[in-house]
């Protein structure tokens, strides 16, 4: 059963086409890396899925709902949580306030406060550093801590799918290792489906799972991350040898 399915999605900004006719499905519990060079359309694709930039064409289905062109808050409420590039923490809010913003979507349902409190403890258990600094302003955190905060914040919405744009951007490699360790553990614990965008395929090869390569707004390769990563086709496709 597929949790997320895209058919023929395209994204345009004015006359510029960032994504052309992307089609794929993602099964529940799968971990998919989308890699590719700068400007390949990876972030645009994520933004289209999350409803931030409505797709110019095609259809997106998530958890048996047609979410094409839906508002970002409605998509989030179905259980698709997006962690955009650049660690968008609410800098003036405390860490705990940041984490609590996303629990509002369950407000009013039975026992949501208790569930939010237990989610909060679960996030704190995953990222203890956040608990230590829970009343600090989020803007004062280091880059790695902010990355943990935005991932934790996404988890607070009890999502079925988390889409993360460049979790390693600007982080020291050992911090990136930590972030990935957590992500992979979370996937196992919660049967979370992960959609991760990274510029380089190294992380995908280390983590395993499925990998797709995007270039020029299209998906050019799709397969097992470790197998693809070592193939010459990957190198060629990434840098665009031979097709111009």
């Amino acid at each position: 059963m597929s949790l997320l399915s895209l058919s023929n999605i395209s994204v345009r900004y004015g006359r510029l086409t960032a994504v052309r006719g992307v089609t794929f499905t993602l099964a529940e519990g799968e971990m998919l890396f989308i890699t590719g060079p700068n400007g390949a359309g990876k972030s645009s694709l994520l933004r289209a899925i999350a409803g931030v930039t409505p797709p110019a064409g095609g259809r997106v289905d998530f958890a048996d709902h047609d979410i094409t062109g839906q508002a970002p808050e409605d998509i989030a409420r179905l259980g698709l949580s997006m962690v955009p590039e650049g660690r968008d923490v609410f800098g003036s809010l405390t860490i705990e306030e940041n984490l609590m913003v996303g629990t509002g979507m369950h407000a009013g349902s039975r026992g949501w406060r208790a569930r939010a409190a237990s989610e909060l403890e679960a996030v704190y258990a995953t990222f203890p550093i956040l608990k230590d600094r829970r009343h600090a302003q989020a803007g004062l955190l280091s880059g790695g801590q902010q990355q943990m905060l935005v991932i934790g914040r996404a988890l607070m919405t009890t999502p079925r799918l988390v889409a993360i744009d460049e979790p390693s951007l600007g982080l020291a490699p050992n911090i990136t290792d930590q972030v990935y360790e957590r992500l992979i553990a979370l996937r196992a614990e919660r049967k979370l489906t992960l959609l991760i965008v990274e510029q380089s395929s190294t992380r995908a090869m280390m983590a395993g799972g499925r990998m797709m390569l995007m270039r020029g707004g299209e998906i050019v390769l799709d397969g097992d991350a470790r197998a693809l990563g070592q193939s010459e086709a990957m190198q060629a496709a990434y840098f665009g040898y031979g097709d111009h």
């Binding site: 989030a76 997006m82 800098g91 003036s92 809010l93 940041n98 979507m105 919405t157």
Partner: protein, 304 residues
């Protein structure tokens, strides 16, 4: 001592008006980057909502005769209602437009409200007596001031405390603060855009109504232009305070009130007529040294 306290109270009550006005503008700017120039006309509308339509010089009071515990909720509801209506009918359609377009739409809306009032009430100022019991003088710390002035200050302080508690302690307040800082990110966490924006408009409209009640009681007149001068000062206060920073708007509002009152006292009598020129001069000085405002709004800082 009495003389000094008099100046302090004058400064505080004038600053209160500016602070309330600036808050009303900053709240909406925070969530949708709209400078709502119709705010002043919402203030005027709230005063006229207390009257029957007529073009006579003496106003025919309608809701204005209600006892205060009904009058105040009525006025607040009118302000909030008109403000929410303006978002649903006008601003919602410009949500994706650039800020300049939205600002021009707000000018247009202001004109529509003003000419609607003009049609029903004519442009002639009307004398009204609103909450007359508030004009009796009280003596406090050696200064004699109308009870209304004291109430203005107390109301403003109450509003500020209430608003702070609302923003810090409630779920809706949390969502509004998150949305003010990064609207798209807040939506990606399930925060409903329409609800937050309508909440900001309702609060802003209720603040406009509070100003309307104070102005109406203070001046004893209803004038379709009565919101304009407060609006201008309030807008300047939001700019000096740092666009979108609520605390900055309040501080700058009080600062402008203080500067204007002090100018009134220390300027030589011949120059007093030009008081506002000196106030704006001070504004220019502030902006030369801190173009981003006193407290630059959070979240609008450049990303690294």
């Amino acid at each position: 001592m009495g003389g000094l306290m008099q100046v302090v109270f004058d400064a505080l009550s004038l600053g209160s008006l500016y602070a309330l006005g600036a808050l009303g503008i900053a709240l909406i700017f925070g969530v949708m980057r709209l400078v709502n120039f119709a705010h002043g006309d919402v203030i005027a509308f709230c005063v006229f909502a207390l009257l029957w339509p007529s073009v006579d010089a003496v106003a025919i009071i309608f809701a204005g005769n209600l006892p205060w515990y009904l009058l105040i909720p009525f006025a607040l509801a009118v302000g909030a209602g008109l403000s929410v209506l303006s978002e649903v009918v006008v601003f919602r359609r410009f949500r994706r437009a650039n800020p300049a377009t939205m600002m021009i739409a707000s000018f247009a809306l202001g004109f529509v409200i003003r000419y609607f009032l003009l049609m029903l009430f004519s442009s002639r100022p009307k004398s009204i007596s609103l909450l007359p019991e508030l004009s009796q003088p009280v003596e406090i710390l050696g200064a004699r001031l109308p009870l209304l002035q004291l109430i203005t200050i107390l109301v403003t302080i109450t509003v500020l405390i209430g608003l702070t508690a609302f923003l810090r302690r409630t779920r809706f307040g949390l969502e509004m603060r998150a949305a003010a800082e990064n609207f798209t990110m807040a939506r990606m966490l399930g925060v409903r855009a329409n609800r937050v924006i309508m909440g900001a408009f309702a609060l802003s409209g209720a603040l406009a109504a509070a100003i309307a009640l104070i102005l109406g009681s203070q001046t004893g007149t209803a004038n379709i232009m009565m919101g304009a001068s407060v609006m201008l000062m309030a807008f300047i206060a939001t700019v000096i305070g740092g666009m979108g920073s609520l605390a900055g708007a309040v501080i700058a509002g009080f600062a402008l009130g203080a500067i204007a009152t002090v100018m009134q006292v220390i300027l030589p009598p011949d120059a007093r007529a030009f008081r506002d020129a000196f106030v704006y001069g001070a504004v220019i000085l502030v902006l030369i040294f801190r173009p981003q405002g006193l407290l630059s709004a959070r979240g609008t800082k450049e990303r690294v």
